[in-house]
């Protein structure tokens, strides 16, 4: 997860003492463990935000059409929601442990500053749990429209959860709302800390990403089924509902990404410089696509002359602040930040094009009177749609790599370095291996069992299946 080379070096080289007794190996281990668990959690969390919306859409559609296939779809998704909810709770529990186990320096000093958003997230989560219980349990017990209504709080609470945690991350990027005296936090304005300037762009971009990821991921499951020739209503609707949602949200997502980048140009020029590989402050800065950092420049990249200056200030003469404005030891690792960014943007554009393709196919279908997905090129489209789900996940992970690697070497930007936050106790490397082992064993088992379940029909489709009717969480 963190730069593999440095991790490898940390594993292979003998540990040399660093300030505070923290070995570089332990520091890398802690970073890798945190990054790994977060990268795992974020996928589930995104589905926790997006899937309820999709389920409600399917249910509403099912009520309108009265078609059992649509209603079955809603049921299936609701069931997956129940499972994902439990998985999200477990992986989230691990995260709250890790904040203290791995980063006691951060939590000991600033825990109270970012405590509020997490407390609020807990409440949102609780409400989500309760309404999930009502929604799953009340399926046959409430009139359809009323039942639909009980699902709305799940969606709202899910979005709020995401907003709150991202506020905590945004604070690490734009620390506000506290006074330090003699290394101790003496005065805190928790609301100012939570609603810092980075919160709006980051949380909007994040919530949209959650929708994009869950839409395309769900659609890709049905794209595979369609490719295998199962073109009945059930699979077609299962494909179209999420794919259309994804196609609608993606343009907004790109606009929000642009907002996030402009925000950085104003508030965090160093991060933008790392993202774009700008080493020297000057005007007429080109936009470099791909490329590796080599000394003080990017090599092997594709340069668009004046591109970045134009993007940021709409004029080629716009001056872009480079990395040279801060000491070298405060530079993030340019290559990983830059490449992650390019992959995210590239995949974002790919998703946008998929939406455009669907629009064109639909328009063409209307003109020629053929049903959508009955025209030529459909196979290629479905193949790419099947790839789009994993692609959205990769974009999501890369986005987080931009944010997190781009903040290095700070854990709280400009205030606390990562190495001052890490737990100085020995043995973090062992902990990392243990955690990796357990996650790997779990993932293997999950894949194995899930695959078996699709083969043996009598077996429950999901662990919660027999309980859907009686699933009173809390």
């Amino acid at each position: 997860m963190s730069q593999p080379a440095s991790l490898l070096a940390a594993v292979l080289l003998p540990p040399s003492a660093a300030p505070g007794g923290v070995t570089p190996g332990d520091l890398s281990a802690a970073r890798a463990q945190m990054g790994f668990s977060l990268a795992w959690h974020i996928v589930v969390a995104c589905l926790g935000v997006g899937l309820p919306l999709l389920t409600l859409a399917a249910e509403w559609y099912g009520i309108r059409t009265g078609n059992p296939a649509h209603r079955l779809l809603a049921r299936r998704w609701a069931r997956a929601m129940g499972v994902l909810f439990a998985v999200g709770a477990v992986s989230g529990t691990i995260l709250s442990f890790e904040m203290g186990l791995l980063w006691p320096g951060l939590m000991g000093r600033f825990g109270q500053v970012i405590g509020l958003p997490f407390a609020l997230e807990g409440i949102a989560f609780f409400i989500e749990a309760i309404f999930l219980g009502i929604y799953l349990y009340a399926w046959d017990r409430l009139p359809p429209r009323l039942h639909l209504l009980t699902g709305v709080p799940i969606v709202v609470a899910g979005i709020l959860s995401a907003f709150f945690v991202v506020c905590a991350n945004a604070w690490m990027n734009q620390p506000r709302g506290y006074t330090l005296r003699g290394g101790r936090v003496v005065h805190v304005d928790p609301w100012a800390a939570m609603l810092n300037p980075a919160s709006p762009p980051q949380s909007v971009h994040m919530v949209l990403a959650a929708l994009v990821v869950s839409s395309f991921l769900t659609a890709s499951v049905y794209a595979v089924a369609l490719l295998r020739g199962r073109r009945d209503t059930y699979h077609r609707t299962g494909f179209f509902i999420p794919f259309v949602l994804g196609a609608v949200v993606t343009p907004f997502q790109l606009v929000a990404g642009d907002w996030a980048a402009r925000f950085l140009a104003h508030f965090r020029p160093t991060k933008l410089a790392a993202i774009e590989g700008v080493f020297h402050t000057h005007s007429h800065v080109p936009l470099t696509v791909l490329g590796f950092a080599d000394g003080d420049r990017l090599r092997y990249g594709l340069e668009i002359p004046d591109g970045l200056s134009l993007l940021v200030g709409y004029r080629p003469s716009t001056v872009i602040k480079g990395l040279d404005r801060v000491p070298r030891e405060d530079w993030p690792t340019v290559t990983s930040v830059h490449l992650s960014f390019d992959v995210m943007v590239g995949l974002g554009c790919f998703l946008l094009l998929m939406g455009v393709w669907l629009l064109l196919a639909w328009w063409w279908g209307r003109r020629t009177g053929t049903a959508p997905l009955a025209v030529r090129g459909t196979r290629l489209f479905l193949l790419l749609a099947a790839v789009a789900g994993p692609a959205a996940v990769v974009a999501l992970e890369c986005g987080w790599c931009v944010t997190e690697f781009g903040r290095q070497p700070w854990v709280v930007w400009g205030v606390m370095r990562v190495r001052d936050a890490v737990n100085p106790a020995p043995g973090l490397m062992t902990g990392l291996w243990l955690v990796l082992f357990v996650y790997a064993a779990m993932t293997t088992a999950a894949v194995y069992v899930l695959r078996r379940m699709t083969r043996d029909t009598p077996v429950p489709v999901a662990p919660q299946e027999s309980d859907v009717e009686e699933y009173p969480v809390a």
Binding site: G92, P104, G111, D140, N423, A462
Partner: protein
């Protein structure tokens, strides 16, 4: 004032975790002892069915405690988690393994898979409360000093008081679960199963009592501050716990399962609160008090007010949840009911 209130709320959350998740863990304990494959099957089925609906949702309480600790008492959170990171990492891994294995066992068809996942589920159900108990023992016996990773990473949890805490936690979970399962079985009309779990509830209750008595000697030697507190300020709560424990056994023997449930919960809660009362106002023995560790009033007030508002939202939602459960399912089943592949 605000700090004490926050601590009380945190402790209430801890009590909920001990009672609700404790019963879940304990169910895993009985799963472990249910006997070989075919003989143990009916019990395993029953246990699975009883805890199935709540599954992992009870960890919400643990998260609640962790978040309030870090928001309200950041230095204590940092000190405890950094010094005791070994048992806490193991407990965290236990939580993952347990949740995953439970789900997988339910989904798997072949015997060897069910055995593997079952063993994983049951073992982690026992080890997780054990490690959490050792953490409590480490804090209670004053082995976690203020500061980051300032205590010994091994002896802070490998010591007599921690061991006592671990064993007591496992036994208390087992007892809670057995009492809960008794009532479930009785309500389900399965007298044989109810009798089986009644025997287990009595046995685990007696075992907890014996260990607690032996614990007095251990605490006298190993955790003098805690011992003093338990025998002075916290004495009424200790007495409540003991009386409730005995009363619970009597109620069990007389088949008053509903009451036995409430009383067993009271006994366990009283242990937790007597620990808190014995140690107060120290959060870390001997010298970090609640007011030393507390966050600024602005943070505490913001968190408490948010929780209060959240509570106001939660009450009607919970009411709605229970109201829905009371509704009968209409006769005409929904066409969407799932049965196709």
């Amino acid at each position: 004032m605000l700090a004490d209130l926050t601590l009380a709320v945190t402790w209430a959350g801890l009590t909920c975790y001990a009672l609700f998740a404790g019963a879940d863990f304990g169910a895993g304990f009985w799963d472990l002892l249910a006997g070989r494959d075919t003989r143990g099957l009916p019990q395993r089925r029953f246990i699975e069915h009883s805890i199935g609906p709540v599954w992992e949702a009870n960890h919400v309480w643990l998260i609640f405690v962790l978040v309030l600790l870090w928001a309200g008492f950041s230095p204590v959170f940092a000190a405890v988690l950094s010094t005791l990171y070994i048992p806490l990492t193991l407990a965290a891994l236990g939580i993952i393994a347990r949740g995953a294995a439970f789900a997988f066992r339910k989904a798997s068809v072949e015997l060897w898979q069910q055995r593997l996942f079952g063993a994983c589920f049951a073992l982690s159900s026992v080890l997780t409360p054990f490690f959490l108990g050792t953490v409590a023992g480490g804090v209670a016996s004053g082995r976690v000093p203020a500061g980051i990773a300032a205590g010994d990473t091994v002896t802070s949890w490998a010591n007599p008081t921690s061991f006592l805490g671990g064993v007591l936690a496992v036994l208390a979970c087992a007892h809670l679960a057995a009492v809960y399962l008794c009532q479930d079985a009785a309500r389900g009309g399965d007298a044989a199963l109810a009798a089986q779990f009644r025997r287990r509830a009595v046995l685990s209750g007696l075992a907890s009592g014996v260990v607690a008595l032996a614990g007095i000697a251990i605490l006298h030697e190993d955790a003098t501050v805690l011992f003093h507190g338990l025998t002075h300020r916290a004495l009424p709560l200790v007495v409540v716990s003991a009386v409730a424990g005995v009363a619970g056994l009597v109620l069990l023997v007389r088949d008053h399962f509903v009451w036995a449930r409430a009383v067993a919960a009271l006994a366990v809660a009283a242990i937790l609160w007597s620990w808190g009362a014995a140690q107060y106002p120290n959060m870390l023995v001997p010298s970090t008090t609640v007011s030393d560790a507390a966050s600024t009033d602005a943070v505490l007030a913001a968190c408490l007010i948010s929780l209060a508002v959240g509570f106001l939202l939660l009450v009607p939602s919970l009411w709605l949840l229970y109201a829905t459960f009371q509704r009968e399912q209409p006769a005409h089943a929904d066409a969407g009911t799932d049965s196709t592949g």
